[in-house]
């Protein structure tokens, strides 16, 4: 009777000026398309989940666009996680009421760990994901947290911040590599390996997936269940990065589900 929980694979949409954009290393915004259109396409492809991140909210100090979130949620047939500018319990509850399954907290959790704790208590740990934007310092080759408020590396060690988030009870960690973002050169597994075996919550990795093999490589290397999130991989096609929303093929889904791990 042994059947298993499938590896989750999900696309990520970045909202910039209420449209979908893509970035490279969190910069160089390229216009991709209309968010509702993207959601409809992902519905058809029956993607596992969808992560939508408003990348303006933190740097512009603007609140989440609840009306747009409602529209996206109404359209979205799969579980939806929203992040970007969630800085109060009231806003978080409004977003959940709009039909969103999970709230992602990134920059705001830095120094505000007890907000995360309270959020988990109100909407439930399983509905809270901590986004860990990390990058490697050229000075000491250590991994630090990248601030999306200053667009700069902080002096907070990524591993410490992640352990804080775990302590606050997040249901999931989304480890997002700034260095790999948009490069389609493969995930950064180093940090993932450190985290995944010292945490008991769900963990996802994001940043760098460029081909299907990048997904299977991660699972083989960490030998545990990890959520695989990707932006560029499911947004662009071909050498010239034409916009074409896509997802795993049937064969790719089968191959992933056959992977053995502990």
């Amino acid at each position: 009777m042994q059947m298993s929980l499938r590896i989750r694979v999900y696309p990520v949409l970045l909202l910039h000026k209420n449209q979908v954009y893509k970035t490279i290393n969190f910069k160089n915004h390229i216009y991709v398309g209309d968010p509702l259109n993207a959601v409809r396409i992902f519905n058809e492809k029956k993607v596992d989940e969808l992560l939508v991140l408003d990348i303006d909210a933190t740097i512009n100090k603007t609140p989440p666009n609840i009306e747009l979130i409602k529209k996206i949620s109404r359209e979205c047939e799969m579980p939806l996680t929203y992040g970007g500018g969630v800085q109060s319990l009231e806003i978080a509850e409004k977003i959940i009421e709009a039909g969103v399954e999970k709230i992602a907290i990134g920059n705001y959790a830095i120094g505000n760990e007890d907000f995360v704790n309270k959020l988990c208590a109100i909407i439930g740990s399983q509905s809270v994901a901590g986004v860990v934007n990390f990058a490697k310092s050229v000075l000491d080759s250590e991994y630090y947290i990248y601030s999306t408020a200053d667009m700069n590396l902080t002096q907070l060690l990524a591993i410490h911040h992640t352990q804080n988030l775990i302590g606050q009870g997040v249901g999931e960690l989304i480890l997002n590599s700034v260095d790999k973002d948009g490069t389609m050169s493969g995930y950064d597994n180093y940090f993932l390996k450190k985290i995944v075996h010292s945490s008991e919550c769900a963990v996802s990795i994001l940043g760098g997936a460029g081909k299907f093999e990048d997904l299977t490589d991660v699972i083989r290397e960490v030998n545990t269940r990890v959520g695989l999130a990707a932006g560029s991989l499911f947004t662009f096609r071909g050498k010239y990065k034409s916009v074409l929303f896509s997802y795993l093929s049937e064969d790719e889904r089968n191959e992933l589900s056959k992977l053995d791990f502990s």
Binding site: M1, Q2, M3, S4, L5, R6, I7, R8, K46, D48, E49, K70, S73, R74, E77, M78, P79, I96, E97, A98, G99, E101, K102, A121, I122, I123, G124, S125, Q126, S127, G171, E172, S199, E200, C201, A202, T224, R225, G227
Partner: protein, 208 residues
């Protein structure tokens, strides 16, 4: 007409949209008068068991809801924490549940009681172990997949109420049927076609 209880917890909007997309009439019940004309109900729920029960108790809807279930015998479908609330109590917090089904709610663990990676999140397959209205015409699929997001599971006193199980580190019940009371641990409103089919089946469950 399906009445979705809006007592302050649960993805009422998502459920309502999912029903609408599938041509099923529904109404969101926020006040007692909105129970009028309802032929069956959905009890949603997310978050912590105790906070959901507290919200239900403070909503002013609980008594009328229980009357519709126990006296009028209308069908009710509990979803996720809504399923858990049908039981007597939970290991999560101090609150008492509705006690409409005997048994309790416990934390997901390995068979060996070691702790595991939680929540149980993602698409998992069901093992349907009993004929249930909810799974009619799922025939082609031996083990249909649904979306799960939870850390606690039901532990019914009588195994007879269990209509499907799933496996994640251990095997556990994920759906129940007991007379007019139905419940699912997963999220049919977010489970693509299988979820839509289940909701359609629920919409066609015969009333007494």
């Amino acid at each position: 007409m399906i009445g979705i209880l809006n007592y302050g917890s649960g993805n009422v909007t998502a459920i309502s949209h999912s029903l609408q997309k599938n041509g099923i009439d529904s109404r969101i019940i926020s006040t007692i008068s909105e129970f009028s004309g309802i032929s069956r109900m959905i009890l949603p729920g997310v978050g912590a068991f105790s906070s959901a029960m507290k919200k239900l108790n403070n909503s002013g809807l609980r008594v009328e809801f229980e009357r519709h279930v126990q006296v009028l015998q209308l069908p009710v479908l509990g979803i996720c924490v809504g399923l858990q609330m049908l039981f007597e109590n939970s290991e999560e917090g101090e609150a008492e549940g509705l006690g409409l089904i005997s048994g309790k709610v416990i934390k997901l663990k390995k068979d060996t009681q070691e702790s595991i990676r939680l929540p149980h999140i993602g698409w998992n397959q069901l093992h349907i172990n009993k004929e249930s209205h909810l799974f009619k015409k799922f025939g082609n699929q031996e083990n249909p997949e649904f979306y799960f997001l939870h850390s606690y599971v039901i532990n019914p006193l009588s195994k007879d109420v269990i209509t499907a199980s799933a496996f994640y580190e251990s095997s556990f019940p994920v759906s129940v049927e007991s007379n007019n009371i139905f419940g699912v641990q997963f999220h049919p409103e977010k489970s693509h076609k299988n979820g839509a089919d289940l909701l359609k089946n629920y919409a066609n469950v015969p009333t007494h």
